[in-house]
Assembly symmetry: C2
Homo-oligomer: 148 residues x 2
Amino acid sequence: MKLAIEEARAAAVKGEVPVGAVLVISGRVFTGRNRVITDSDPTAHAEIVAMRSAARDVGNYRLPGSCLYVTLEPCIMCVGAIVQARVERLVYGARDPRYGAVESMLRVFDLGVNHKPIVRSGALAEQAGELLTKFFEARRKGEVPKWS
Amino acid sequence: MKLAIEEARAAAVKGEVPVGAVLVISGRVFTGRNRVITDSDPTAHAEIVAMRSAARDVGNYRLPGSCLYVTLEPCIMCVGAIVQARVERLVYGARDPRYGAVESMLRVFDLGVNHKPIVRSGALAEQAGELLTKFFEARRKGEVPKWS
């Protein structure tokens, strides 16, 4: 999770909402950070960047036995991608009261989807959340350009 | 939608579940077909392939004013991506009773998400559905290799 937080910090430096992810599969480590603006890609959330990187490298669109660490509770799209990739364990940091689809806005894994990872939340949540709070504060003050 | 069905057919030829999509934005047309196996990418559903292609080309991760045609009712991941990309109109063909997240397994757009496209379903649904039925029949008979 520390590595995921480093990824989140690196995203913020680029003006991206600071969310970072790490996927571990068969002892190999793949990182991802939010890069929707950088890549002009609506799907380039940290989790998806890490999952795609791993799947490409492993040569399988499914990632059985993998563990995905992410600094923020995943949104609907990312929860859907976690199901598609058959991620075995999901560990996330801060809750996302507005868009979180694991326990906040929605509880997608409880809605009869065809795969449900083992979930742990709250890992380094304070650090992960603080990064986001500071980022949005800075953006409100105009210290970070708001892109929309 | 006819073009989306052609894309779906092209996916089947590659052994991929035959789903195709077309995204139209500012008079420009971007196509996508399911290529999860080909690309080893759990997120490479037809809709997402088309949205990514358009966003990259337009240079904006949001696609306001766009219309997305897809042969099959989108899954949770793709519905989430449609929200992220702010797709304005969604037109789909066949319902997906198992995984459809617009009206079948879930009705995500009615669950308080922060963007809701105008939705039309049933366009060329019979053709789109028949392609899928035939594909799965052929796969059960071993005429198409099952990949898992």
